[in-house]
Amino acid sequence: MNARVALLSLCSLLVLALPVMAGPLSIGVSVSDLGNPYFQRIARAAEQQARLQAGDEVRVQVMSSAYDLERQAAQIDRFIAAGVDLILLSAASYDGLNDAIAKAHEAGIYVIAVDVQAAGADATVTTDNEAAGRLACDYLVRQLNGRGRVVIINGPPVSSVLERVEGCRDRLADEAEIELMSMNQNGGGSFEGGFEKMTHLLTAFPQIDAVFTINDPTALGAEQAANEAKRHDFIIASVDGAPRALQRLPQPGTLLRATAAQFPSRIAKQAIELGLRLVRGETLEQQLWLIPPELITAENVGEFGRW
C-alpha cells in the first residue's frame, strides 16, 4: 500500500511537471485480447494512469486485435486517423506491424510496446518474462525435490511466451533428474487451448509430475482437463497472477500451486509515463523496461491484491 501511495504521489509530481498542451491528450491502446483480464487490466490501468498523469480530459481509445495482425494494423490506422498522440501496442507479432508503426511515426505518434516487444516501437515495457519462467519452474523443481517428469504447455510465438519458456527450460536444465517430456504443445495462451493440449498430454503420458503453462488461463484450462481426466498426480505452475488464479491458489485440491505474477498496472503505468515523456519531447534513457515478476503461492497469496 505504501508503495502505491508513493507511486501516486510520484505521479502527481509528474503531472504537475507536464507542459501545457495544445489540445486534450489522446491515447490509443491496442491489446491482444480483451477477453483476457490481464489485458483488460493493462487497458484500464493505462486509462487511469493517463487521466492521473495527464488530466481528466485525456481521451483513451481501447481496441483488441484478437491476435490478428491485419485487424491490429487496421486499428493502428484508425488511431492515426483519429489523431492520437500516443499508442500503447500489445503487438500480435513482433515484426508484423512494421508498416503500421512506421505510418504512426510519420503521423508524429509515439508507439510504446506493452507486454510484448514490437519492432519499431519507441519503447517497450514488459514483465521480465525469463525471470517469470525461471521463478515458476524453480518452484516446480523444488516441489519435486529435483526429480520428475515435466511438461510445458507452450503458447503463441511472441517474445513474452518464448522468454518464459526459455527461463523455465534454463531452470529445468540445471537438474539432471528432471525429464522434460514435451514443450511443443501450443495452447494459444487460452483456457480452451490449455484444456485441449493438457488433454493431449494426459493421453500421451501416463505419468506426469509437473506442468508449466505460459499463462494462467492455460493453467486453469489444464487443471480443468486434469479434473475431467481424474488425474491429480501432478502440480501446475504458471505465469500471470490473474485474479482467477489467485482465487484458485488457496483452494483445497488445487493443482495450480504457483504463478509468477506480472504486474499489468505497473506495466501500464510505466508505459503511460514513458509515452508522456516522449510526448513532452524527452528522450528515454533506455528502450526496454522490464517489470520484475513475483512468485505467488497459497502461502503468500494474501499479500497480493487484485491487479
Partner: protein, 876 residues
C-alpha cells in the same frame, strides 16, 4: 501277356549296361544327377525370378495403392474431425493455426487423390467432394474469423460500456446513462434474436427519451455511438448469432461431405483390395508352378540317385564279396570259389587279380608254414638240446644263447643280456672256470683262444669246482662272430672211465682165467699123484710127510686158482636158494674169530623172508673176505656191522627187487684214487707179501657172476661201506633130507671104465684114482682111440671123458655118439672150464653134469658112482 518283347529289350539293355565299365556306369549316373541338379537350379532360378518379378510388381503397384488408399482414408477421416476445431477456435490466432492445418490437409488429400490414377474410375466423386469440402472449410474459416472479430468488437464495446459504467456509476444524475450502458452490456450476452430485438426497442426509446430530456448529458454520445450507429451493438450481436447458426450449418455440411468422402474412399479401398487379390493370385500361381517344377525334377533326381545307390550297392556287394573272400583268405580259408571272375568290368579285374593273389598267398602260406615249422624245430632243438649254445657277433657281443648255456656254465641267473661282450660273460664265470684247457690237458692262453675262436674251429675244456668238465666247441660264423657248443663232459668222462675200468677188468679176467685153467690142470696132476703117492707110502714116514706137505701146498695153489677163477667169474658155482640172514648168523663165530676181539660186530638182519640164489660157500667166503679187510682197516678196533634188507629198485639186470647186504666199518676209509681200483686183482695197499690183492676182486667176480651188483662208498677217516645187491628169487627149495654125503666113499666093483684124456699127467692120475676106487680102466688119449676101444670091447660100464680134447672132435661129440650107438652106456664129462664157457664154446646142454677139474678123489668117486647109479636106475 506279350511281355516277352519288353523283357528281351530290357535284358538286352541290361546286358549293355552290365557290359559297361564301372567307371562309365558311375559317370553316367553322376552326369544324370548333375543334370537333374542343374535343372532344379534352373527351375528354381526361374521360379524365384518370376516370384521376384511378381513381388516387385506387387511392390510397385499394390503397395503404393495400399499406402495411398490408407493415407487417403485416414486423411479424409481427419478432415471431418479437424473441422470442429476450426469452428470452435477461441482466438483468431488459434483459428489461423487450425484453418491453415485444415487447408493443408485438404490440399494434401487433393494432391494424394490426383496422384492415384485409378481413383477416377474407382471413386469418381472424390475430387468433387474434396473441392466441395475445401470450399465449405474456407467458408467456415472465414465465418469463424468474422465471428471472432465480431466477438472482439463486442468485447471492445463492452469494455467501453464497462468504463462508462465505472466512470459514471457513482453519479446519481447519470443513473439513466449507466442503466442504458448496462442494458447494452446485457444485449451483448443475449442469445435470442427476439429478446435482442425487444432490448433494442427499449434502448432506442430510452435513448430518444434521454436525448430529449438531457441532450448534453455526459456519456450519451458514447452510448449512442455504441448502441445506435452503424455497426451498433445490437447488429453485432444479431450478426454474431446468425454467424453461429451458419457455423453450425457449415460444420454439419463438413461432416456430411466427410462421410461421403469416406464412402468414396471405401470404394477405392475395395478396388485396391481386389487388385491386390488378383496380384497375389498371380504371384501364387508363379510360385506354385516353380514349386511343382522343382518337385518334378527333384523326384527325377531322387529316382536317379536311388538308381545310383542301387548301382553302387551292387558294386559294393561285389566288392564286399571279394573283400570277404580276401578277409577269409587272410584268416587262412583258401578253399573258396572266386565270384564274378567272368565279369568284364573292374570288379571282374579285381576278382581275377584276387585269384592270382590267392594263389600267391596260398603259396606264401605254404612256404611260411614250412618255414615256421623249421624255425620251430630249430628253436626246439636250440632250447632243448643237452648242450649249451651261444652266439657272439664279430665284435664279440653276445647275440643269442639257450637256457642250457646258463645251466652248464653255472652263470648267475639274470645277468646275461644281449650285447654283453665275451669278456664280460667270462667275468661272470667262476674263477676256476676261466682257464681253458686243451683236450690233451695243456693250459691255453685265454686271450689267444678268444681271438682264435673267431677265425678257426676251437675245442677246449674248462673245469669247474664241482668237478664238472665242460667242453667248448667254437666255430666261426660266415658273417663274423662265432657259435659255441658247450657239452657237459662230466658224465661222459665218468662213463668212459667206467668203461675203461670194466674193459681192464675184463682183460684181467680173461688173462687170469686162462692162466688159472692151465694151472688147474697142472695142480690136478700134482694133487692126484700126491694123493696116490700118499696111499703108497708108509703113513708115518718122512716121505709121507713130504708128500702131505706137497699136497697141502698144491691144494693151496688150487685155492688160489679158484679165487682167480672166481674173480674172472669162471669159478664153478653151485648156487642154492638160501636165506642170507640165516647164513650170516651161522658164520658169525667164524667172523668173530677172523676179526679178533677188538672189533665189535653188529648185526641188523632184515632180509628174511626174501631169498637169494647164490653159492653159499662163495658168499661166506666173500663176507669173510670183507670182514678181514675191514678188520685190517681198524687196527685199533672199531665197529663192524652187517646189515641186510630189501631194495625195491635195485635196477639189476634180473629185476628191481633185490636183497641188500651191507658191510660197514668205522675204519680208515679208502682214498678216492684208490677207490676206483679196489676191485682190480692184485691191487693192494698192504705191504708186499701181506695180501694177495685178490680178496675184493674175488668178491666182485662172485657177485657179478651171481647176477648181482657191488657198490663201495668210502671216504678217508670215515670208514667204508660196501653194499652187495643180490637178486631176489622165489622159494623153490626141496626140503629133502640131505643124504649123508660124508659117508664112506662109493667104490667100484671092478667095472670097466673108458677114460678119454688128452693130457697125459691128468690121464694117468685119473687112471690111478679110478683104479684105487675099485674100477678097471682102459685109458685112451684121443677120440679116435676111444671109438676103437668102444668098437673092440663091449663091457665098458662108463665112459669118462674130458671135453676139451685138443682136437675138433670133443668129449661132447663122443658122448652124443655113445648115446646114439650104445644107449645105456653112461658118459661122465669133465673139464677145467666153467659151465658158461663150455656151453658157449662147445654147446654143452644146460643141466648136463660136468665134473670140474681139478677134482679130488672123493669128488670123482661120487661122480662115477652117481653116473653108474643113474644108468642102473634107468635100466631097472
Amino acid at each position: 501277356m506279350n511281355s516277352g518283347a519288353p523283357t528281351a529289350r530290357r535284358s538286352g539293355a541290361g546286358r549293355l549296361w552290365r557290359g559297361l565299365r564301372v567307371r562309365t556306369r558311375l559317370l553316367i549316373a553322376f552326369s544324370i544327377l548333375l543334370g537333374a541338379t542343374l535343372a532344379i537350379a534352373l527351375v528354381g532360378w526361374g521360379g524365384l525370378s518370376n516370384t521376384g518379378t511378381a513381388l516387385s510388381q506387387f511392390e510397385e503397384q499394390a503397395l503404393p495403392d495400399i499406402s495411398r488408399s490408407l493415407e487417403l482414408a485416414e486423411r479424409t477421416a481427419n478432415l471431418a474431425a479437424v473441422a470442429p476445431y476450426v469452428a470452435n477456435a477461441s482466438s483468431p490466432f488459434l483459428l489461423q493455426g487450425e484453418s491453415q492445418n485444415l487447408r493443408d490437409r485438404i490440399a494434401k488429400v487433393l494432391a494424394l487423390a490426383r496422384a492415384i490414377p485409378q481413383l477416377d474410375a474407382a471413386a469418381p466423386r472424390l475430387q468433387t467432394l474434396l473441392l466441395q469440402l475445401e470450399r465449405t472449410v474456407n467458408d467456415l474459416v472465414d465465418l469463424t474469423r468474422e465471428r471472432l472479430f465480431l466477438r472482439e468488437d463486442l468485447r471492445q464495446a463492452e469494455y467501453q460500456l464497462g468504463t462508462l459504467a465505472a466512470r459514471y456509476g457513482s453519479d446519481p444524475n447519470l443513473a439513466a446513462v449507466v442503466q442504458q450502458a448496462e442494458r447494452l452490456m446485457l444485449a451483448a450476452q443475449v442469445n435470442n434474436p427476439a429478446e435482442l430485438d425487444l432490448l433494442q426497442q427499449r434502448y432506442v426509446s430510452a435513448l430518444t427519451a434521454l436525448k430529449t430530456s438531457a441532450p448534453e448529458m455526459a456519456g450519451v454520445e458514447q452510448l449512442e455511438r455504441i448502441g445506435s450507429g452503424e455497426g451498433n451493438l445490437f447488429e453485432m450481436r444479431l450478426n454474431q448469432l446468425e454467424l453461429e447458426q451458419r457455423s453450425a450449418y457449415l460444420l454439419a455440411s463438413t461432416r456430411a461431405i466427410s462421410e461421403q468422402l469416406s464412402t468414396e474412399v471405401g470404394r477405392f479401398v475395395d478396388h485396391v483390395e481386389s487388385r491386390i487379390e488378383q496380384q497375389s493370385q498371380r504371384v501364387g500361381i508363379a510360385v506354385a508352378s516353380g514349386k511343382s517344377g522343382i518337385l518334378i525334377i527333384t523326384l527325377l533326381g531322387i529316382a536317379v540317385a536311388l538308381g545310383g545307390i542301387w548301382v553302387v550297392r551292387r558294386l559294393a556287394r561285389d566288392l564286399g564279396a571279394v573283400t570277404r573272400l580276401m578277409t577269409r583268405l587272410a584268416a587262412g580259408d583258401t578253399d573258396q570259389q572266386t565270384p564274378a571272375v567272368e565279369r568284364i568290368d573292374e570288379i571282374g579285374d579285381l576278382a581275377r587279380a584276387f585269384q592270382v593273389f590267392r594263389e600267391n598267398a596260398m603259396e606264401i602260406t605254404r612256404i611260411s608254414q614250412s618255414l615256421r615249422e623249421q624255425s620251430r624245430l630249430l628253436e626246439t632243438v636250440f632250447t632243448n638240446i643237452n648242450d649249451g649254445l651261444s652266439v657272439f657277433d664279430g665284435e664279440g657281443r653276445l647275440l643269442a644263447w639257450n637256457p642250457r648255456y646258463v645251466e652248464i656254465l653255472n652263470l648267475p641267473p639274470g645277468q646275461l643280456k644281449p650285447g654283453r661282450t665275451l669278456e664280460q660273460v667270462q667275468q661272470l664265470l667262476p674263477k676256476e672256470a676261466r682257464d681253458s684247457w686243451a683236450l690233451n690237458g695243456v693250459a691255453l692262453d685265454r686271450d689267444e683262444i678268444n681271438s682264435l675262436r673267431r677265425h678257426r674251429v676251437q675245442r677246449f675244456e674248462r673245469h669247474f669246482a664241482d668237478g664238472r668238465v665242460v667242453e667248448f666247441r667254437s666255430s666261426p660264423l660266415p658273417g663274423g662272430g662265432f657259435v659255441t657248443l658247450y657239452s657237459d663232459l662230466t658224465e661222459r668222462k665218468a662213463i668212459e672211465e667206467q668203461l675203461r675200468q670194466s674193459q681192464k677188468m675184463e682183460v684181467l679176467g680173461q688173462l687170469t682165467g686162462g692162466v688159472a685153467h692151465d694151472f688147474n690142470n697142472l695142480l690136478a696132476a700134482i694133487i692126484g699123484n700126491l694123493q696116490l703117492l700118499e696111499t703108497r707110502l708108509e703113513p708115518d714116514s718122512k716121505a709121507a710127510n713130504n708128500a702131505r706137505r706137497a699136497l697141502a701146498a698144491a691144494e693151496r695153489g688150487g685155492g688160489l686158482t679158484q679165487r682167480l677163477l672166481a674173480f674172472a667169474r669162471k669159478q664153478r658155482l653151485q648156487p642154492e636158494t638160501i636165506d642170507i640172514d640165516r647164513l650170516i648168523g651161522e658164520m658169525l663165530d667164524l667172523i668173530e674169530y677172523s676179526v679178533g676181539p677188538a672189533i665189535e660186530i653188529g648185526l641188523e638182519l632184515h632180509a628174511a623172508p626174501w631169498l637169494v640164489n647164490v653159492d653159499p660157500g662163495q658168499l661166506e667166503n666173500a663176507l669173510l673176505n670183507l670182514a678181514i679187510n675191514s678188520a685190517a682197516a681198524m687196527p685199533g678196533g672199531g665197529k663192524l656191522s652187517f646189515e641186510t634188507g630189501h631194495v625195491a629198485d635195485a635196477g639189476l639186470e634180473s629185476g628191481d627187487e633185490a636183497v641188500l647186504v651191507r658191510v660197514q666199518d668205522t675204519g680208515a676209509g679208502i682214498s678216492e684214487t684208490h677207490l676206483a681200483r679196489v676191485f682190480e686183482p692184485f691191487f693192494t695197499t698192504k705191504e708186499v707179501g701181506e695180501g694177495s690183492g685178490l680178496g675184493l676182486s674175488m668178491v666182485y667176480g662172485f657177485v657179478k657172476q651171481s647176477l648181482g651188483d657191488i657198490r663201495i662208498h668210502s671216504q678217508l677217516g670215515e670208514g667204508t661201506r660196501i653194499d652187495i645187491l643180490l637178486p631176489r628169487v622165489a622159494d623153490l627149495r626141496q626140503h629133502e633130507v640131505d643124504e649123508d654125503k660124508q659117508g664112506a666113499l662109493p667104490s667100484g666093483r671092478g667095472q670097466w671104465v673108458l677114460l678119454v684124456e688128452d693130457d697125459q699127467p691128468v690121464r694117468e692120475m685119473a687112471e690111478d684114482m679110478l683104479d684105487s676106487l675099485g674100477y678097471r680102466v682102459e685109458s685112451v688119449a684121443s677120440i679116435e682111440a676111444a671109438y676103437t676101444a668102444l668098437s673092440e670091447r663091449a663091457d665098458f660100464a662108463l665112459v669118462f671123458t674130458d671135453i676139451n680134447l685138443g682136437t675138433a672132435e670133443n668129449g661132447l661129440h663122443l658122448a652124443r655118439d655113445v648115446a646114439e650107438m650104445l644107449p645105456g652106456l653112461p658118459v661122465l664129462l669133465t673139464s677145467g672150464l666153467p659151465a658158461d664157457q663150455l656151453s658157449s664154446r662147445y654147446g654143452l646142454p644146460v643141466g648136463q653134469y660136468v665134473l670140474a677139474k681139478p677134482y679130488h678123489r672123493e669128488a670123482l668117486a661120487r661122480a662115477v658112482s652117481d653116473a653108474l647109479d643113474n644108468t642102473e636106475n634107468k635100466e631097472s
